[in-house]
Structures are given as C-alpha cells and as structure tokens.
C-alpha cells in the first residue's frame, strides 16, 4: 500500500465534511459533518504513524477521538439550547447579533 491512498481518501472525506458544514441548516447535521472532518484527520494521523513506524501518531489520534467526544457533548447541548429558545434547530435563524 502506498501512503497516498490514505491521504487522498482523508482529503476527500474532509472536503465532503466541509460541504456538509457549509450547506446543512440543521445543527445536528452540521455536527455530523464536523465529525466527518475529524475522522479524516484521524485517518491521516494513523497513516503517517504506519508510514513512519512510530506509534505517537496513534496516540494523537486517540487524543483527537477524545476531543471529538467532548466536542459533540458540548455541541449538542448548544443545539438543544438553540432549539429551546428558537423552537427550531435551524442554524440560519441564529442571527440576533446581526446588525
């Protein structure tokens, strides 16, 4: 296997995640797209760990997984609060700071 297979796969997944973040209106779906992007980064870290024969990359991937879990918890709490205040999970309606 060559390293680039994994890197290009991760790049494609990352860009699909970017598309999702830009296009989706539902807060939960935006968080799912962010998870896609974090997963792409993890694939990169593990692929480089295999290429360089150093397990440090895998430890970083574990840290990224932990941070992602924390991020989903706080993110869903925020989406829940938006839903409770605006009666809709639609992020385009969060525009109170707009002049």
């Amino acid at each position: 296997m060559i390293l680039n297979q994994f890197l290009v796969l991760a790049a494609v997944l990352f860009c699909i995640g970017v598309y999702g973040v830009l296009v989706r209106r539902n807060g939960v779906l935006v968080l799912m797209s962010v998870e896609l992007m974090l997963n792409a980064v993890n694939i990169n870290l593990v692929a480089f760990s295999a290429y360089l024969h150093q397990a440090a990359g895998q430890v970083f991937a574990l840290f990224v997984i932990t941070i992602a879990a924390a991020e989903v918890g706080v993110g869903l709490a925020i989406v829940l609060l938006i839903y409770r205040n605006l009666h809709s999970p639609d992020l385009d309606r969060v525009d109170q700071l707009k002049g």
């Binding site: 296997m1 060559i2 390293l3 680039n4 297979q5 994994f6 890197l7 290009v8 796969l9 790049a11 494609v12 990352f14 699909i16 995640g17 970017v18 598309y19 999702g20 830009l22 989706r24 209106r25 539902n26 807060g27 939960v28 779906l29 968080l31 799912m32 797209s33 998870e35 896609l36 997963n39 694939i43 593990v46 692929a47 760990s49 295999a50 290429y51 024969h53 150093q54 397990a55 440090a56 895998q58 430890v59 991937a61 574990l62 997984i65 932990t66 941070i67 992602a68 879990a69 924390a70 989903v72 918890g73 706080v74 869903l76 709490a77 829940l80 609060l81 839903y83 409770r84 385009d92």
Partner: protein, 171 residues
C-alpha cells in the same frame, strides 16, 4: 499486498459514498446511520495498517457513544424524521465549488509531495514485525511519554461534561 489494496479500495468507495450520504440525505436519522458506515470503514482502515487499539477505540467511542448521542440529539430537537426538503440552505453550488476546489488543491499537493511512498507491511521494518499498534505499545507511550497530555485531556473531558450539563440545564 494485492489483497490489502483490494480491501482498501472497497472500503474507500464505501466510505466516500456513505459520507456523501451523510451530507446529502433528506432524512436526519439516515444521515446518522450513514455516519456509522463511515466510522466503521475508518476503523477497518486502521486495522489494515495494524493500528488495532485505535480501531477498537474508534468502534467503542464513535459508533458506540457519539452516534447514540447524535440520535438523542435528533430526538430531543424533534428533527423532521421523514423526508424534509429544507435541511439544506440555498448555497449548494458555491459550497460544492469550494469543496471541489479544496479537494483538488489537497489531492494535487499530496500526490506531488508523497507520490509513491510505500507503507511497509511485511519483511524487516514492516508493520507485521514491528507491531507498533498493539495495546501494550500504545499504553507504554500514553503512560510514559504522553502522561501529562493524557491528564490534561481527562480534565478537559470533565470540564466538557460539566459545561454540557450547565448549558443544557433548564432553569
């Protein structure tokens, strides 16, 4: 080598199609289930490069915990379950152009930088003999070299837990 490549491409195609399903699906629950396919595919890719501990952590935390959290989020926000048309905003084409441009730039850059670097599987210095991805090796690294970041992450998890409770609490 050939068998691993075949498995890689099958998984890669499945993951990309499922990821497109996540961002294109008209049904929120289906998007979460497509996300399960992407996560499981990523875990299988980790096993393919002998990172077994990360693979199982991926299965337990992402498929086990994060997806359940998403499904709870979908239920609590009463997201439209059956075919809703206004899940996307009307900036689809600019977003598609941006992400296609990004994938073009990244792929060109990566292919230019690492065009034929090989991941060694068998033989001396290969993954099969070095076994860097086993739980023992990872545990040695976490609790020797990276013990301070590990403790910091545990504090961060606690803070995120308390923060999520404080944010979502109904006063």
């Amino acid at each position: 080598m050939v068998a691993q490549n075949v498995v890689f491409w099958i998984l890669a195609v499945a993951m990309v199609l499922a990821a497109i399903g996540v961002v294109r699906s008209r049904n929120v629950v289906h998007a979460a289930l497509y996300l399960v396919v992407v996560m499981a595919g990523a875990a299988a890719q980790y096993i393919l490069v002998a990172a077994e501990f990360v693979a199982w952590v991926q299965v337990i935390i992402y498929i086990g915990a994060v997806i359940i959290l998403f499904l709870f989020g979908i239920m609590l926000t009463r997201a439209p379950m059956g075919g809703e048309s206004d899940l996307d905003n009307d900036r689809k084409w600019p977003a598609a152009v941006v992400s296609l441009f990004l994938v073009g730039v990244l792929a060109t850059l990566l292919i230019d930088a690492f065009h034929a670097k090989e991941i060694k599987i068998s033989g001396a210095g290969g993954l099969r003999t070095l076994r860097t991805g086993t739980s023992g090796h990872i545990a040695d690294l976490i609790f020797k070299s990276y013990v301070v970041p590990f403790e910091v992450v545990s504090i961060l998890l606690l803070a995120a837990l308390v923060g999520a409770v404080v944010i979502a609490r109904r006063d």
